[in-house]
């Protein structure tokens, strides 16, 4: 479970709090939506909930943020990655750009963990299967459409097997058809027991997949 208890955050070198005091809980299998106008701290909330802020990018955190009962500030980046994956709004930067085929790109996370080869394959295939993108396995990651890139980036996160996912406006660059594809994928992921925190302006998407929607 991810818990934000009266959490607020400001980026390094700034005096304003990018995330105003916020409390929320994200349970396994639950999809919580976050909406709100621009500059209200949705992206910052994603960073804080996943522990990237302040663990990786620095800054000041007030209040408590717990992932599976442990404060994020006590965990190393790779430990956080196994508890909570983050999908940024621009999926192209989420791909390494170092792999020739999608399969290798998705396997990058499990390989980083030094898992046995059989488990790397098992996780990679499972991640592709849950998002229904097995047909992309042999494709060049640089030649995918926006929606396909989004799904491959998501598969790359799922292959690390985090208990939670934080998705920052996952459909903001997609047409309605691709958005629907991503929405279905989110529902499947949550069905597999992964807690999903989702920020979006798209009310249709929020209504479709979220059990609860919070406005910042």
């Amino acid at each position: 479970m991810i818990v934000l208890d009266q959490a607020s955050y400001r980026y390094p070198g700034t005096s304003t709090w990018a995330l105003p005091t916020t409390s929320l809980e994200l349970r396994p299998g639950e999809v919580v939506g976050v909406t709100g106008a621009n500059e209200r701290g949705k992206t910052t909330l994603c960073m804080v909930a996943a522990g990237l802020a302040p663990v990786t990018i620095g800054g000041e955190l007030r209040g408590r943020v717990l992932v599976d009962g442990r404060p994020t500030v006590e965990l190393a980046g790779y430990e956080l990655a196994q508890r909570c994956g983050v999908l940024f709004d621009n999926p192209t930067v989420q791909l390494t750009g170092l792999h020739r085929i999608v399969y290798e790109e998705v396997a990058f996370g499990p390989c980083n963990l030094g898992l046995p080869l059989a488990e790397v394959h098992e996780r990679t295939q499972a991640a592709l299967r849950i998002l229904a993108v097995e047909h992309l396995a042999g494709r060049n990651p640089g030649h995918l459409s926006g929606g396909e890139t989004q799904l491959v980036a998501l598969a790359g996160l799922l292959a690390v097997r985090p208990g939670h996912l934080v998705l920052d406006e996952p459909t903001s660059r997609l047409d309605p058809e691709r958005s629907l594809q991503v929405a279905d994928a989110i529902a499947r992921v949550a069905g597999a027991g992964v807690g999903v925190l989702l920020t979006a302006h798209d009310e249709e998407l929020l209504a479709r997949v979220c059990g609860q929607v919070i406005e910042l």
Partner: protein, 201 residues
Amino acid sequence: MALLTALSALRAGRIQRLAVAALALTPVAASSLLINLLLPAGGGGLATAVAALLRLIGATLPLTLLFATTDAADLLNDLEARGVGRRAVFVLGAALAAVPRAQARAVDVIEAQRARGLDTEGSWRRRLRGLVPLVTPVVIGSLAEVEDRTLALEVRAFGAPGRRTLLRRLPDSRLQRAARWTMGLLLALGLAARAAGVTGP
């Protein structure tokens, strides 16, 4: 050496890439000939011009050969298999990918600026003027992307301790190993000969 490079590139289906590299040498070759044959300050004559050109080819051929025949992903994979650390391998990979990424970003920025009415075609003056609004977004965008990519690596456990799992092992035949040892030996012999004053000026 040039023949070996051409044959290797042909076998790897990268003759086009090799041709581009050769084409890039053309202005240097032309200027070397111009300086040594026509200008009094150069004055070295044809032999000096050819010698300078051969040195240049000698210096650039190994890299040309490497990139004409070796896929970057294979190179990185093999370096990791030979014990090079994941961070060093990633830095090399990012450096190799930097140029195509910058090209792709430049294309995006050009299209975006054209959509806003920027004229990037026509006379060279007009093209030059059109460059200015392109440079800043390309440079700033590339710098911002570095930070995003760092975070993206972090959420995929790139900082985990220990060795990474290698998804595939590249074949390394006896012939390839023999060729590597032979080239290493030739290099050592060449250096020794040079040190002993047997060859070169």
